[in-house]
Every structure is written in C-alpha cells, then in structure tokens.
C-alpha cells in the first residue's frame, strides 16, 4: 500500500488551526500528492472549537474523514486534546501545545511531542505565529512535505499582500522544527 498521512488538527477558533491544515494540504498538492482538507463545520455559529482533517496520499484518496485513524494529531488547547485524542491511531504522533495542555496520563501507544508553541511565538514577537511554530514541529517530525513547500503554500493561500510576512513565518517554522527535534 502507498503512503498515506492523516493529520487531525484541533484547537479553538482564532488559533489558526484551519489554516495550519490548509498550508499543509496546499504544500502537499504542490508536491503533486493527492490531498484533502475537511473542516468540521459545527453548529456553533462563532468561536468555540475548530478542527480539520488533512489527508495526504500518493494515490487517489477515498475517505477524507478521520475517525480513529489519524497518523498525526495536533492539539492546540486542552479541550480539543481531551475531546479528540482518541482519533489518533496507535503508533501515531501527537503534537501538543504544551503551554496550554497538561496531558496527564498520556496514552502509551503513541509518541508525544510537547511544544510550547505559545511561548515560542511570543518570543518571536507575535502570539499569532503559534500555529506556524506548531506546523514547523509537525512537519519536521512527521515528514509530511518539504519545509520550503510550506512557504510556497503560504504565498498561494495568503496571496501577495502577505508575502512580506514570509521571513518571520519561516523563522517560526524553523523554531518549531528545532523545538521538536530537541525533544528526542
């Protein structure tokens, strides 16, 4: 069977969870992989939880949904972690925003990456970069796409107007990768 990655990202509205998934999906597409990005569009009209499922594969993708078969779980806050940790399959990798998530009694069948993405982003001068820090960590450890491709994707998703932010985002990705690497 071909390689297939299923990445589940969850957090609350405003943490950039949806665009994290979109950047990943876009980058994978640029690498000519098959890809799907599915939001959960909940009944909540505003705020509240946000999550998306990204599937990356060499072949045509069947189900774009993630039930309990995420190979990668990304959790930006505690509520999301508690609610959705079960979606990660045994052997999967889990990335948690350790600034907001304790994750006591962690599952033993998966690998944890605890990244203080809020702190790192704050250090970088903008808490809004937390999702990019996380993305850097995830991509570095889960080997999803070429790190540079994420910046290409950034251009496509956010357009010319936002290109000036590329350097700082690049740095965020790098910091995230660094932090994740340090863990092991």
């Amino acid at each position: 069977m071909s390689k297939i990655d299923r990445i589940f990202c969850a957090g609350f509205g405003g943490q950039g969870v949806m665009s994290m998934g979109q950047l990943l999906a876009y980058a994978a597409m640029l690498e000519e992989k098959e890809v799907t990005w599915c939001p959960s569009y909940g009944p909540e009209m505003r705020g509240g939880e946000a999550n998306c499922s990204v599937t990356i594969s060499d072949e045509r993708i069947g189900s774009p949904l993630i039930n309990n078969d995420a190979s990668v779980g990304v959790f930006m806050n505690g509520a999301a972690y508690n609610k959705f940790i079960g979606k990660v399959m045994p052997g999967g990798k889990v990335f948690i925003n350790s600034d907001l998530i304790d994750a006591e009694n962690p599952r033993t069948d998966i690998t944890y990456y605890r990244i203080p993405v809020n702190s790192i982003a704050t250090e970088l001068g903008k808490i809004q970069l937390a999702n990019m820090v996380m993305l850097g960590a995830v991509n570095d450890q889960a080997h999803l796409v070429d790190q540079d491709m994420l910046l290409e994707a950034f251009k496509k998703v956010f357009g010319a107007a936002k290109e000036k932010f590329i350097p700082i985002n690049k740095e965020a990705l790098a910091k995230g990768a660094e932090a994740a690497a340090k863990m092991f």
Binding site: V35, T36, W37, G62, S63, P64, N68
Partner: protein
C-alpha cells in the same frame, strides 16, 4: 491549468463561471453560503449579475426568467431551500428551459440540521414537483468531479433543454481538494432560437407553461419522455472500483462512496472480493451497472435511511440481494462501520 486547492463551494463558482454562467440567483443557507458569497464578488467583474433572491421561491423563478432569456444561469441551495423550489423546478421542466441547480444537502426532514447528508435523493431524483417530468441529477464524489460536473451540467442543460441538478452532500461543499478547471467534452449544443430576446426583427418568442387542452399537454409530455429516453441512452454514468473479480459490491455515491472506497481497500487487504459501483448520474440511473449475476450481494451505503435501495433492487432484479447501511441526520459513516457491516453480509466469504 495548474491545480489549485479549492473548497467545494468556491469550486462551484469557478466552474460555473468557466462554463459561461453569468447569472446567479440564490438565497443564503448553510452549508452552501460560500456559493452566493463568491458569486456576489465575481459576477459583477465579468459583466454578469448576482441577485440575492428574497427567497428560494424567488430565486428559482429568477432562474426561470434568466434561463428563458437564453442565458447560462444557476441557483444553489441546501435541502429545505430546494424543497421550496419544487414548484419552480416543475415550471422550468415544463418550459424546457436549460438551467442548473446545485444542492449541497444537509440533514432533514424539515429544518433538520446543517450537517452533511444525502437525504434528498427522493426529492431530487424521484421528483419533488408535480406531474410527469425528470431532471438530470449528477452526483459528484469529490471536488474535482464537482467542478467537472458543474461545467457539464450547463452543457447537458443546453444540449437537451433540461434542468440539471448537481446533488452533493454538504461535506463536498465544505472540503478542499486540488482542482483543475478543464474543458468538458464537446457536445452538440443547439442555438437558443426559442429564447426571450425580443423579436429582433424575427418572430415572437413565447415560453409556455399552461396547456389547457389535455391532448396538447399529453403531446408535450410524450415529447418530453422521448427526450428523456435519449438522455437515458446517452448520459447514464457510473464508475466501477475493483469490480473485475468482485463477488460482493457496494453501491454508493458522493462522500459516502469515498468512505466505502477506503473500506474496499481495507477489505481487499483482508482478502474479500469486494468492489464498488458508484453511480455518477442518479437520473438517469445506471440500472445496468447493478445487473451482474456474479454479484452475491449489493451493499448500499448512503448518508440517509436507504433512499437509493429501490433503484439498486430494480437494477439487480432481486431485493434479497440488496442490503443497506447508512447514517442519517448529518452523522457520517466510518470506514470501520462499513467494514463491519460488509463482513456481516459477506460472512466468511473471501
């Protein structure tokens, strides 16, 4: 054209514009709001018009007017909104003006919920309006196919002077996938010499809906059904997956069929000889695709209470051969559930 990563709803708009659609009439409803929203931004740029109808009833009747005026035009909505369009759907069908509707289905009945569903099969495929009529119903299985089908819908509509419904579940509208805008196959599209354009020195154009004399109306209906027979002949479409040596077959369309596809992969790994028949047109329905004596059971998987089951039975000719599994009300099915269900049906057979 290079691929772009598009949300299904946005993709609908791009595809429609690519197909020459310059007019959109629609009313907000979740989960398809991005369609009117994108149209409202894009159409003025190309000299077309976006009108937010005061209701779905108004929207479908605006579409009737614009289509009768000879333009490529469309509306979109979701389940209860489509229910409100039924009278208008009948009018468009009677008048044989070519038009396109996109239905991003959500759970029902009634107001129901806003999560994805396929529970409008009956309404859209069997006919939710009065009288003898048919509409072409295209059922995309992913965003690329959504794009392709929206474009084709305009061509099919024009070729046959018929209403074409693109019937997708809400998830297809909400999800993103890489999409390429490619040209649909060439079709013979007749000139719209019947359209309301003013006389322009020629004869007066008249678009009728009433035939007071029953024999006249009967003749119209007979003509309609002759046309429908041609469409059944030409446009019936489905896709096989792993069907060459299959002994059991899933029947599924739209998002459900993607989950099923993954289930087929998994079951094949476990040695089950199972495949998937995925109708791409729900009307005309690919009855023949289910007429395979070697298949022991058809497993119909839908996001509803089993609305396609009758058609699968009609196709395979044996109701004992058809089993159903699905979720309703916006709950999605999982690969596990589908596999478990299939194994129960298939028993030890591998």
């Amino acid at each position: 054209m290079a691929k772009v990563l598009l949300k299904g709803n946005e993709a609908v708009v791009r595809a429609a514009i690519e197909a020459g659609c310059k007019y959109f009439f629609g009313y907000p409803i979740t989960p398809q709001n991005e369609i009117p929203e994108y149209f409202s931004k894009e159409l003025p740029k190309i000299g077309g018009a976006f009108v937010q109808g005061e209701s779905e009833v108004a929207s479908i009747n605006m579409l009737y007017g614009a289509a009768a005026a000879g333009a490529r035009a469309m509306t979109s909505s979701s389940s209860p909104g489509i229910a409100l369009m039924q009278e208008g759907i009948g009018y468009i069908s009677k008048a044989e003006v070519p038009a396109v509707i996109v239905n991003m289905m959500r759970g029902g009945p009634g107001l129901g919920g806003i999560q994805p569903s396929q529970a409008d099969y009956n309404m859209c495929v069997k006919g939710g309006s009065n009288g003898d009529y048919r509409t072409v119903v295209l059922a995309p299985g992913n965003v690329q196919e959504l794009v392709d089908m929206v474009q084709e819908a305009f061509d099919i509509a024009d070729q046959y002077r018929i209403l074409c419904i693109v019937l997708a579940d809400g998830l297809i509208g909400q999800m993103m996938e890489p999409v390429e805008l490619r040209k649909p196959k060439e079709r013979p599209i007749p000139a719209k010499d019947w359209a309301l354009t003013g006389r322009n020195g020629g004869k007066t154009h008249r678009v009728y809906n009433l035939k007071l004399q029953a024999p006249d109306l009967e003749k119209d209906n007979f003509d309609l059904f002759k046309k429908y027979a041609v469409i059944e002949e030409n446009e019936t479409r489905y896709e096989d997956y792993m069907m060459e040596d299959a002994e059991f077959a899933f029947a599924s369309y739209g998002t459900a069929s993607r989950v099923v596809r993954t289930a087929v992969d998994r079951l094949r790994e476990e040695g089950y000889k199972v495949g998937l028949v995925r109708p791409q047109t729900l009307w005309p329905f690919p009855y023949e695709a289910f007429n395979r004596p070697q298949i022991k059971k058809y497993m119909d998987i839908e996001l509803n209470m089993g609305q396609m089951v009758d058609d699968v039975v009609l196709g395979c000719g044996d109701k004992e051969k058809v089993e159903f599994f699905g979720h309703t009300g916006g709950v999605l099915i999982t690969v596990d559930e589908v596999c478990d269900f299939a194994k129960k049906i298939m028993g030890g057979a591998k």
